[in-house]
C-alpha cells in the first residue's frame, strides 16, 4: 500500500512538473516582455542585477517614450485602418462566394472551394517579387494602401473556406421555405441566410483582422517609410537607431500590440480549428 502511494506521488509530481514546463515555455517570453517594458534602463543593462524582477522601482518611461517620441500611435492607427478595409473587402467577396459554393450542386462546389483554399497556401515569399511590381504599377509603393490591396489575397481564401463550412452546416430547408413563401433567391440569401450566419461572420471578421495584424513579409517588402508602417513592422524594425536596440520600447510596443490578438484567439480558437481542418474530424 505505501508503495502504491509512492508511485502515485511520483506520477503526480511528474505530471505537475510537465504542466509547469509547458506553462513556463509558453509564458516566459511574454513575462519577459512585461518585465523589460517596465524596467529602468539602469536596471535593464546591468548584468550583475537579477533579471527576473525589478531591482529599481518599475517605470513608465518606455511607454511614455513610445507614445510621445515615436510613431507608435500612427502605426496602431495604420494597422486599424488596414484591418478594417481588408475585413470589408473580404466580407463583400467571401460571403457570397462561400454561400454559392456551399449550395452548388454536385462536386463542383467542393472542388472550386478546395481550389480557392489552396491559394491560401501559396506563400508571400513566392509572390512578393511580382507583387511589388504590381504595387508600383498601381502607384502604391511605400503606402499602407498597398497592404489593403494585397492582404485580401490570403484573407479571401481563408474566409471563403471558413464560411463555406458554416453555410454547409445550415439546413437548406430554411431558404427553400422562404422561396416557397415568395422570396427570390437573392432575397433568401439576404433575409434568411445572412442573419442566421452572424456567428460565422463574426468569426470571419475576427480572423481576418488578426491575420492582417500578424502579417509581416508583405509589409516589410512594400513599405519603407515609417509613417506608413503597420504596428508589427514598426515595432520590430523602427525602434532601432543604428546598432542600438531600444529594448524597453520594443517590448512595450510588442506587449500592447499582442494583447488584442491574444484575446481574440483564445475566444475564437475552436471555430478557427474547425475552419482550417474543414471538418476532417466528424
Amino acid at each position: 500500500m505505501p508503495r502504491m502511494t509512492l508511485g502515485k506521488a511520483v506520477q503526480e509530481t511528474s505530471f505537475y512538473g510537465a504542466v509547469a514546463f509547458f506553462f513556463i515555455l509558453a509564458a516566459f517570453p511574454f513575462y519577459w516582455m512585461v518585465i523589460t517594458s517596465f524596467k529602468t534602463n539602469g536596471d535593464l543593462y546591468n548584468v550583475s542585477n537579477i533579471p527576473f524582477w525589478f531591482n529599481d522601482a518599475p517605470t513608465l518611461e518606455h511607454f511614455r517614450y513610445l507614445f510621445e517620441k515615436t510613431l507608435f500611435v500612427t502605426w496602431l492607427l495604420n494597422s486599424l485602418i488596414i484591418g478594417l478595409c481588408v475585413t470589408a473587402i473580404t466580407l463583400v467577396t467571401a460571403l457570397p462566394a462561400a454561400y454559392s459554393l456551399a449550395r452548388m450542386t454536385g462536386r463542383r462546389g467542393e472542388a472550386l472551394g478546395i481550389g480557392i483554399f489552396l491559394t491560401y497556401l501559396v506563400p508571400p515569399t513566392l509572390l512578393f517579387l511580382p507583387l511589388s511590381r504590381v504595387i508600383s504599377a498601381l502607384g502604391l509603393q511605400n503606402s499602407m494602401w498597398s497592404l489593403v490591396v494585397i492582404y485580401p489575397t490570403f484573407t479571401i481564401p481563408f474566409c471563403t473556406w471558413l464560411l463555406m463550412g458554416f453555410f454547409k452546416s445550415m439546413p437548406r430547408e430554411i431558404e427553400e421555405a422562404a422561396i416557397v413563401d415568395g422570396c427570390s433567391l437573392l432575397g433568401a440569401f439576404i433575409k434568411m441566410a445572412l442573419p442566421l450566419s452572424v456567428p460565422g461572420i463574426l468569426t470571419a471578421v475576427i480572423f481576418t483582422f488578426t491575420l492582417t495584424l500578424q502579417e509581416f513579409v508583405y509589409a516589410l517588402t512594400f513599405i519603407s517609410s515609417s509613417a506608413h508602417k503597420p504596428v508589427t513592422l514598426g515595432v520590430a524594425t523602427d525602434l532601432i537607431r543604428g546598432d542600438v536596440f531600444y529594448w524597453g520600447e520594443i517590448m512595450a510596443g510588442a506587449l500592447i500590440a499582442s494583447i488584442p490578438v491574444a484575446i481574440a484567439y483564445n475566444l475564437f480558437l475552436d471555430r478557427f480549428i474547425a475552419g482550417i481542418t474543414g471538418g476532417a474530424v466528424k
Binding site: 505530471f15 505537475y16 510537465a18 509547458f22 515555455l25 509558453a26 509564458a27 517570453p29 511574454f30 519577459w32 523589460t36 535593464l44 548584468v47 533579471p51 527576473f52 463583400v92 467577396t93 467571401a94 457570397p96 462566394a97 454559392s100 472550386l112 478546395i114 480557392i116 497556401l121 501559396v122 506563400p123 508571400p124 515569399t125 513566392l126 512578393f128 517579387l129 511580382p130 507583387l131 504590381v134 485580401p152 433567391l185 437573392l186 488578426t210 495584424l213 500578424q214 509581416f216 513579409v217 517588402t221 508589427t232 515595432v235 520590430a236 520594443i250 517590448m251 510588442a254 499582442s258 490578438v261 491574444a262 483564445n266 480549428i273 482550417i276 481542418t277 471538418g279 476532417a280 474530424v281
Partner: protein
C-alpha cells in the same frame, strides 16, 4: 392605368428572372472572389515563373528570355546550396520539435487539473501573437550580452561569464536558436490539433479496447494515433508550408548570419530579389519552394478525398 403599371414592372421582373436562376446567381456570387485571387495570386505566380526565366533586374528591366540560366547560376553557387540545406534543417528540425512538444502538451492538457483553463489560454499565446513581435522578444532573450538564458546558466553554475555562448553569432547555435523559436511558435498549434483529434475519438471505442485488455500505450498508438492521423496530417501540412517558406524569424533574429549559416530560401529570395534588386535570380531562388509545396498539396488533396469516402 393598368397598362402603365405593367410596363413599369416588366424590366424589373426580367432582371428578377435572371437573378432567380440558380446557376446565374451562383456564378455572380463566386466570381468576385475568384477574380481577386486569379488577378493577385494566379497572375503574379506566372510572373514569378517568367521572372526566373528572364534577365530582369530593377536596373535592367529588359525581360530578355534566358531559359534556365538563372537556375544554373544559383545551383552552382555554394551559398545557395547552403541555403537549400539550411531550409530543410530549419523546417524539419522545428516541425519535429514542435510535434513532440505538441503531443506531450496535448496529453498534459487532456487531464483535468486546477487552473487548466488558464494554462491552456497561455499555451495558445506563442502561436496567436504576431510572429514579428514574439520573435523580437526571443531576440532580446538571446542577446549577446544581456541574455536571460545565459544569466540563468551562469547563476546555476553551468558556465562562467567568459564561456557564455553568443547564441545568434555562432554558426550552429544560431541555427538551433531559430529552430527553437519556430518550434515554440508551432507547438501550440500542434497541441490544439492533437486535442481536437483526440477528443473526437469516440469514448466507446476506447472503452471497448480497454475491456479487450489494451493498456495506455497500446490504446495510444494503435487506436488514437491512427484515428487522428488525418487531422494531424493537415496540421503538419500547414506547419511545413509556413515554415519552409518563412522569412520573418530568420530576418529578425539573425539576418541569415553568421555568414549565411541560417539563410533560408525565403530570406535568400528577399535579399537577392528585393534588397539587391536582382529580381530574376531572386524569383529563381523562391521557386525552389515550389516542388515541396506541390508534394504537400498533393498529400493534402489525398487526405481531403479520403475523408469524403
Amino acid at each position: 392605368m393598368a397598362a402603365i403599371a405593367e410596363t413599369a414592372s416588366k424590366p424589373a421582373s426580367r432582371f428578377q428572372f435572371i437573378l432567380d436562376r440558380r446557376d446565374v446567381l451562383g456564378a455572380i456570387f463566386v466570381s468576385p472572389a475568384i477574380l481577386y485571387v486569379l488577378l493577385l495570386v494566379g497572375v503574379p505566380f506566372l510572373m514569378a515563373v517568367y521572372y526566373s526565366l528572364s534577365a530582369y533586374t530593377i536596373y535592367d528591366p529588359s525581360w530578355d528570355f534566358v531559359g534556365l540560366d538563372n537556375f544554373a547560376d544559383i545551383l552552382q553557387d555554394p551559398t545557395f546550396q547552403q541555403t537549400l540545406y539550411n531550409t530543410f534543417i530549419f523546417t524539419f528540425g522545428s516541425q519535429i520539435l514542435g510535434l513532440i512538444l505538441g503531443k506531450f502538451g496535448a496529453l498534459v492538457l487532456l487531464r483535468p487539473f486546477p487552473g487548466r483553463k488558464l494554462v491552456r489560454a497561455l499555451v495558445i499565446l506563442p502561436w496567436a501573437v504576431p510572429v514579428a513581435l514574439a520573435t523580437v522578444a526571443w531576440q532580446w532573450m538571446f542577446d549577446s550580452l544581456y541574455s536571460v538564458i545565459n544569466w540563468t546558466l551562469i547563476a546555476l553554475g553551468f558556465i562562467t561569464r567568459e564561456q557564455a555562448p553568443n547564441w545568434l553569432g555562432t554558426e550552429h547555435l544560431a541555427m538551433l536558436s531559430v529552430i527553437i523559436v519556430n518550434a515554440w511558435r508551432f507547438f501550440p498549434f500542434a497541441i490544439v490539433i492533437f486535442l481536437a483529434g483526440i477528443t473526437a475519438v469516440p469514448q466507446d471505442v476506447l472503452d471497448a479496447a480497454t475491456v479487450d485488455g489494451a493498456g495506455f500505450w497500446r490504446r495510444n498508438y494503435q487506436i488514437i494515433v491512427p484515428m487522428i492521423l488525418p487531422i494531424v496530417a493537415i496540421g503538419l501540412i500547414f506547419g511545413i508550408v509556413f515554415t519552409f517558406t518563412d522569412l520573418s524569424v530568420v530576418f529578425l533574429m539573425t539576418m541569415g548570419g553568421p555568414v549565411g549559416a541560417t539563410s533560408v530560401l525565403g530570406f535568400a529570395g528577399f535579399q537577392t530579389g528585393i534588397t539587391s534588386g536582382d529580381v530574376s535570380h531572386g524569383a529563381a531562388i523562391s521557386l525552389f519552394m515550389l516542388p515541396v509545396l506541390l508534394v504537400v498539396v498533393v498529400f493534402m488533396l489525398r487526405f481531403i478525398r479520403r475523408r469524403e469516402i
